[in-house]
């Protein structure tokens, strides 16, 4: 098949951290996106500011597969540190682009790989005088060389540079010069384009390219968050930074220059969640963002917010645990900690976004849910979703939408009420009415506490009253099942005895795995979880399948445990499909793990799963 490698390959850039490679690599990925071709860039970076190896993977997929794929078709290696490993990671028949200013160590030469040398350092020394420019333009020169090798439209690169450096024409010109140096070198030294190359398509539609953390920050601006408290931690830091960037543009009063928001960088995660709880208690929409270690610290306060019923929004951008783990690698491994955060009988509402669009939607929705359910809402995103750019459906907002502030009594409602009971279940849904401090001079005040209290918020050690309250919290939990984001079913009626369950960033690769397996005759039903608590749909999906594969990115199958624990299903039929090496799960890994489980069945009776 002569065209099999058009718009279907993986390029990896091996760079040194802190050398300005990120923007050049982004330019490369964005150019492919602009050519209408589905693209997935992933930054694989060290926990370091300068000097350690960093990689940037760009997967190009005509079929629109957005998950990670193993195997590098073309390696751009400008980092001598990692060169020996980088050579090995190239697929047989692939390409190795390197800086040939220094001769390549003969030991690194593989017969099954084509080597393309670019004298990057030499060109930079010749063409640029400023030391920083010499370093930065090295990156742009290889982008130019790649544009010749892979057929990137030059106009697209030109346009992107013009957009990036508006008003800095001199910089645009220097970048274009660097691009042309790379192009000219390929033109005079190598055959081009390669068999792996790009062709313009119209497969991107109106999609946008953005990282999940920025989408969360923007969602919080749209969702009406006014108080943000946080403590820096990778990979969640950019959530609040994005909120601040958007708020500075969109939330400053034009007349007074004052801000319609408040951001406080707290002294630690304990204080950050405390501030969020204080602000929400006082009637402002407030959120924080953190990662695993921060979530551990926030547990005590999450229990208070659960028991005292205070709206709270927490965005957990998961990374590889336990403890400090691998701070710059991804995982879905905070599920159980978040679901049962804090001591005593607690259950926390979780939402699981899988795209930037969902990060945006669910952040705004979480602010509504927190106030309507009067409880913490924890958004379980992760490093892969949060810190990498993803092709996503565009953001949407309905201008008639009103914030759902939940059951909050105002002064006139309090005036008419014979007696206000903060924890009195008036409507029978387990959700009680609250008041905001300062509402009424003599009515509606109450004492918020983490100690047990009666329906009127008075302290009690009466076990029956305590138990009644705990039961009501369960009733509220059941109410929550109907209002949290519903699971997404991939079929209207079951077509297979086998089901797949996945969520968050496992989605891209799970969908690709399903697609691939269908073509080999294996058909699965599938469901994407979007929230905890699980509703009846989740229970029914598991009940109506003989075997259910739960695809997730942690060692212990945490979502599987949560499903078994909450739905009382037979563990035997719940098959874990796991990846926990810190890299995003691949379709290939999913397929081989499922095949491994099904192969005895396949040998016996294949009819069941053949579509």
């Amino acid at each position: 098949m002569p065209n099999s490698k058009v718009n279907d390959f993986v390029i990896r850039f091996a760079n040194v951290n802190g050398t300005g490679s990120a923007s050049a690599n982004y330019l490369f990925a964005k150019a492919i996106f602009r050519m209408g071709i589905p693209v997935t860039p992933k930054n694989i970076f060290p926990s370091n500011i300068q000097g350690l190896p960093t990689w940037y993977d760009v997967r190009v997929s005509e079929k629109g597969y957005l998950g990670r794929r193993e195997g590098v078709d073309l390696m751009v290696c400008v980092n001598p540190q990692s060169m020996p490993d980088d050579v090995l990671s190239v697929k047989s028949g692939g390409y190795f682009v390197y800086d040939c200013t220094k001769a390549l160590n003969p030991a690194l030469i593989r017969p099954d790989v084509t080597y393309i040398g670019l004298p990057l350092m030499e060109m930079c020394l010749r063409e640029f005088t400023d030391p920083r420019q010499r370093q930065l333009f090295k990156n742009i020169i290889y982008v130019g060389a790649l544009s010749a090798l892979l057929d990137i439209e030059f106009m697209v690169l030109e346009q992107l540079l013009a957009e990036q450096f508006v008003g800095k024409e001199k910089l645009v010109a220097m970048n274009i010069k660097a691009l042309n140096l790379g192009i000219a070198y390929i033109h005079s030294n190598y055959a081009y384009p390669l068999d792996i190359r790009l062709e313009r398509r119209d497969l991107v539609g109106d999609k946008i390219l953005i990282d999940g953390n920025s989408a969360c920050g923007l969602g919080a601006v749209y969702g009406g968050a006014t108080v943000v408290a946080w403590y820096p931690i990778t990979p969640s830091t950019s959530v609040v930074e994005a909120f601040e960037t958007y708020a500075k543009k969109l939330r400053v009063d034009k007349e007074t220059g004052k801000r319609n928001y408040a951001i406080v960088q707290a002294e630690d995660e304990l204080a950050a969640i405390g501030m969020v709880i204080g602000a929400n208690w006082n009637g402002a929409r407030s959120f924080t963002a953190t990662s695993g270690p921060g979530l551990s610290l926030m547990n005590e306060f999450l229990g208070l917010a659960y028991f005292a019923e205070i709206p709270t929004v927490l965005i957990d951008v998961q990374r590889t645990g336990p403890s400090t783990g691998m701070p710059t690698r991804t995982q879905q491994s905070d599920i159980l900690l978040a679901a049962y955060a804090s001591h005593g009988d607690t259950k926390q509402v979780l939402v699981f976004p899988s795209t930037p669009k969902e990060c945006f939607d669910m952040t705004a929705e979480a602010l509504d849910l927190a106030e309507s359910l009067q409880t913490p809402i924890i958004m379980m995103t992760d490093l892969d979703l949060g810190m990498n750019d993803h092709m996503s459906e565009p953001f949407q907002w309905d201008d008639t939408r009103k914030y759902n502030r939940g059951k909050v009594l105002n002064a006139s409602q309090l005036e008419e009420l014979p007696r206000f009971g903060r924890y009195l279940d008036v409507d029978g849904d387990g959700i009680t009415y609250r008041t905001i401090p300062g509402t009424h001079p003599t009515k509606g005040s109450f004492f918020t506490r983490g100690t047990s209290r009666d329906e009127y918020a008075a302290y009690t050690e009466d076990g029956r009253v305590y138990a009644r309250n705990m039961d009501r919290l369960l009733k509220k939990w059941n109410t929550a099942k109907e209002v949290v984001p519903a699971p997404y079913l991939y079929q209207t009626v079951n077509t297979s005895p086998y089901g797949l369950i996945f969520f968050g960033t496992s989605t891209y690769s799970a969908e690709e795995a399903m697609d691939t397996m269908v073509s080999t005759g294996l058909n699965f039903d599938a469901m994407r979880l979007r929230a905890f608590p699980f509703n009846q749909t989740v229970e029914d999906f598991i009940d109506t399948h003989e075997k259910v594969f739960i695809i997730e990115q942690n060692r212990d199958g945490q979502m599987r445990s949560l499903l078994i624990n909450e739905l009382n299903v037979n563990p035997q039929k719940m098959i874990p499909v796991l990846n926990f090496d810190g890299m995003p799960i691949t379709a290939h890994a999913i397929i081989s793990l499922i095949n491994k489980n099904l192969s005895p069945t396949l040998n016996g009776s294949t009819s069941k799963i053949l579509s």
């Binding site: 749209y222 006014t226 405390g274 204080g278 006082n282 939408r401």
Partner: protein, 350 residues
């Protein structure tokens, strides 16, 4: 503790400018030990709010965990209260204040809640100059867990069981001064005459106002040998001078002899009147306040009164340039940029 509170109130109870009697400022019955210093402080808070004619619902009470942190339930029953988690009151107060800058935030904590588990949050709330009153009911011991030494217990102080505390105490007022607190006072729960005006001044202060109140624990730390017993404190108090708060527009009473007092005008037009200041006391000089406090300690004296005040002070809202309107009153039209702006953002991401 008192189990029964008579419903009867004298019909001629004095009323404040709002027409309220102290009754409107009372809370639930205290469940602390009879004679607890904390109850006296609660009474002083109540009286200060009554005298300032603050509508009770314009105050939010916040506390952590411990005997002291229970007290917000025992005063200002018409105010919202929040008994949070141990040592974390400052963060909850910070969030609450961010949400609504128009309320008065009355934080109550103890020496365990502040000087041990909550030290980090205490330090940082000072650093941010949050506009709040922060009262530590300081008894040098853990009451609810039956009398262990706290970090403010003096070295050499004897517990009820006779053991001697070997560790140096943390001086909260000295620490607050060092950290740049804009209002620092120290008092004694048994001295309402001094404490009530200090609380009034703290409420009127437009930034972080700290009052360290020595408040003997009658059950676990009122024994001979304790340096936080009623007897010891009464014998070792050294007043910096008398303090009074004169509300805006009130006439300055003639009883103040001119020349003997210092008037401090606060941001809202209120005056603090400091009478009979001890020799060499300058309430506007932080270094001098730190020295005076340290010197008193060296003499085994407890320096009380207003130690330091910075009248021109800018609170956290000012620092972060947040809107003058309470953030919790902003609505969709103030907060949501709308779909047209979102369409532009989408376009920039293509």
């Amino acid at each position: 503790m008192t189990y029964i509170r008579p419903k009867f109130r004298h019909p001629d109870l004095p009323k404040n400018d709002l027409g309220y009697t102290t009754r409107e400022y009372e809370g639930s019955l205290s469940t602390l030990c009879a004679g607890c210093g904390h109850d006296s402080i609660s009474g002083s808070i109540l009286q200060a709010c009554f005298e300032l004619s603050i509508p009770p619902h314009r105050i939010a009470k916040l506390s952590g965990i411990g005997c002291s942190s229970k007290t917000p339930n025992y005063f200002l029953g018409n105010s919202h209260g929040f008994n949070s988690v141990h040592g974390r009151m400052p963060s909850v107060a910070t969030g609450a204040n961010m949400a609504n800058r128009d309320l008065i935030y009355m934080g109550v904590s103890g020496d365990g809640d502040t000087a041990s588990i909550g030290m980090g949050q205490f330090v940082h709330v000072i650093r941010r100059n949050l506009n709040m009153v922060y009262i530590v009911m300081n008894n040098g011991c853990y009451g609810l867990t039956k009398g262990q030494d706290s970090a403010t217990a003096d070295a050499g102080s004897k517990s009820k069981a006779g053991s001697v505390n070997p560790f140096q105490p943390i001086d909260l007022a000295g620490l607050a001064l060092e950290l740049g607190a804009s209002f620092v006072a120290q008092s004694f729960s048994g001295d309402k005459e001094q404490l009530i005006p200090l609380i009034k001044a703290a409420i009127s202060h437009p930034g972080f106002a700290f009052i360290n109140v020595i408040s003997p624990c009658v059950t676990f730390n009122n024994n001979p040998g304790s340096t936080k017993s009623y007897d010891y404190v009464r014998e070792h108090i050294e007043e910096t001078g008398k303090t009074d708060l004169v509300p805006e527009k009130s006439e300055i009473l003639a009883s103040y002899e001119s020349g003997t007092g210092t008037e401090v005008m606060l941001h809202d037009g209120t005056f603090i009147k400091l009478e009979k200041l001890a020799a060499n006391r300058d309430p506007f000089n932080r270094m001098e306040a730190m020295n005076a406090l340290r010197n008193a300690r060296n003499r085994n004296e407890i320096l009380t009164g207003l130690l330091y005040i910075e009248t021109e002070t800018e609170d956290l809202h000012h620092t972060i340039n947040s809107t003058d309107r309470p953030l919790n009153t902003l609505e969709e039209e103030d907060l949501c940029p709308g779909s047209a702006v979102l369409a532009e953002i989408n376009e920039d991401l293509r």
